[in-house]
């Protein structure tokens, strides 16, 4: 198998290397990829959409149809993880471990024993793996997480003018919740941002994207042609395209954030939503 793989790989690689002579040089401004369509985007992008960052205007405006289905792929991947891994919660069955917070004593309660209240501050439930007292990690994360979220909102809203946009901002928002789930525990994170919220938010994101396109259709223009939204938003056609990009980016951020968090919940607890990393 290894020999066969090696032969196949060397053959394929050799063919590609053999053909590199036909490719343009590295950094060639007159290469075919750099001359036809992208010239139009660079020269007219800002005048058309009022977004200096051409990557954003191409992503959400000129090629918005493409991006809509990329968002749908992320949504479908989240659903696929849910269907593959999620298991129904069986009541009881396994022993649970609690820590008495004032004294630091750890208690193991066997199956069938009396359990403290779920949101009790005196008894805190621990994972069955060894969990040390992580005061510094918890407090550091508590301070850092709001700043990550504000930066993520800035990245989404400022995507017209600087690198960033819905995908990056959504991933950063998801990373802040994942950081909370790792530094505290998975159950607290799920109490803050539940599975149902994730599912609804993901669907809402895709709905915002597709709905903006459908609204353009209702206003008498092509699908995702934001110019048609100008009378609704009360601005001229160029600014309507700029605002349309922002609306669509918010939808992308919703979908990406919710789906990455949902995939993390399912992967880190192997579908039980009980004990995470």
């Amino acid at each position: 198998m290894r020999l066969l793989a090696l032969i196949a790989v060397i053959l394929t690689g050799g063919l590609i290397i053999f053909q590199t002579g036909a490719f343009p040089d590295f950094g060639d401004a007159n290469a075919p990829a750099n001359t036809y369509l992208s010239t139009y985007y660079l020269e007219h992008g800002q005048a058309d959409t009022h977004a200096p960052n051409i990557v954003t205007s191409v992503l959400a405006d000129y090629r918005g149809y493409d991006t809509m289905f990329e968002t749908t792929v992320v949504f479908a991947a989240g659903l696929a993880c849910f269907f593959l891994l999620r298991r129904k919660k069986v009541p009881g069955g396994e022993p649970r471990i609690y820590r008495h917070m004032p004294t630091g004593i750890t208690l193991r309660i066997a199956d069938g024993g009396k359990l403290p209240a779920e949101d009790s501050e005196v008894f805190r439930r621990l994972d069955t793996e060894f969990v040390p007292q992580q005061l510094i990690i918890k407090n550091t994360c508590r301070i850092v997480i709001p700043f990550i979220q504000i930066f993520a909102l800035y990245v989404i809203a400022h995507g017209h003018y600087s690198p960033g946009g819905g995908f990056q901002g959504g991933v950063l928002l998801a990373a802040s919740i994942i950081l909370y789930a790792i530094s505290h525990d998975l159950r607290r994170a799920i109490r803050r941002f539940s599975e149902k919220t994730a599912a609804l938010m993901g669907s809402l994101g895709v709905l915002i994207y597709a709905g903006t396109g459908a609204l353009c259709l209702l206003m008498g223009a092509n699908f995702l042609n934001y110019k048609a939204l100008a009378p609704l938003l009360g601005v001229d056609a160029v600014m309507a395209r700029s605002h349309g990009i922002l609306i669509v980016e918010i939808g992308v951020a919703f979908a990406v954030m919710a789906m990455i968090i949902w995939i993390y919940y399912n992967l880190s607890s192997a579908g039980k939503h009980d004990e995470g990393l």
Binding site: G27, A29, Q46, L59, F167, I260, I263
Partner: protein, 135 residues
């Protein structure tokens, strides 16, 4: 050999992308462990992204964020050769996010396989399937 060296110097990005892509392909075919195969798949994907990003590069060009030329009056003031090509960047940006979502699905499948067979090694799984079919 004498004309190969300048060729390599002018097109080294293609060499490196080929090496990375073939590393990923070899791992996908020959590695025995499923997680290693998934990592190989991701290396393959990043190699393709490297290819797209490197063909977008222009020597002396700056980032594709327009600095001047205002609203409506920017025609002719913007020279496209001064800016790096934004189109491949756009295509690859979405590809990265989709790659992490597909990686999540692949790892979910790996967990599912481990739950069923108790191993991630491909030959062990094949062996178990064969013995179950023989009974």
């Amino acid at each position: 050999m004498t004309d190969l060296l300048p060729l390599m110097a002018a097109k080294y990005n293609y060499w490196i992308y080929t090496i990375l892509m073939m590393t990923g392909l070899y791992a996908m075919i020959a590695k025995n462990n499923l997680v290693k195969k998934i990592i190989g798949m991701n290396i393959f994907q990043t190699a393709i992204i490297l290819f797209y990003v490197s063909i977008a590069y222009k020597t002396g060009g700056t980032l594709p964020i327009i600095m001047e030329g205002g609203h409506g009056g920017g025609h002719g003031a913007i020279n496209a050769a001064d800016y790096i090509n934004p189109l491949p960047h756009t295509l690859m940006l979405t590809a990265i996010v989709v790659s992490v979502a597909t990686m999540g699905v692949a790892l979910a499948l790996a967990i599912k396989v481990y739950r069923q067979y108790g191993t991630l090694e491909e030959d062990d799984i094949n062996h178990q399937i064969r013995t179950q079919a023989g009974q």
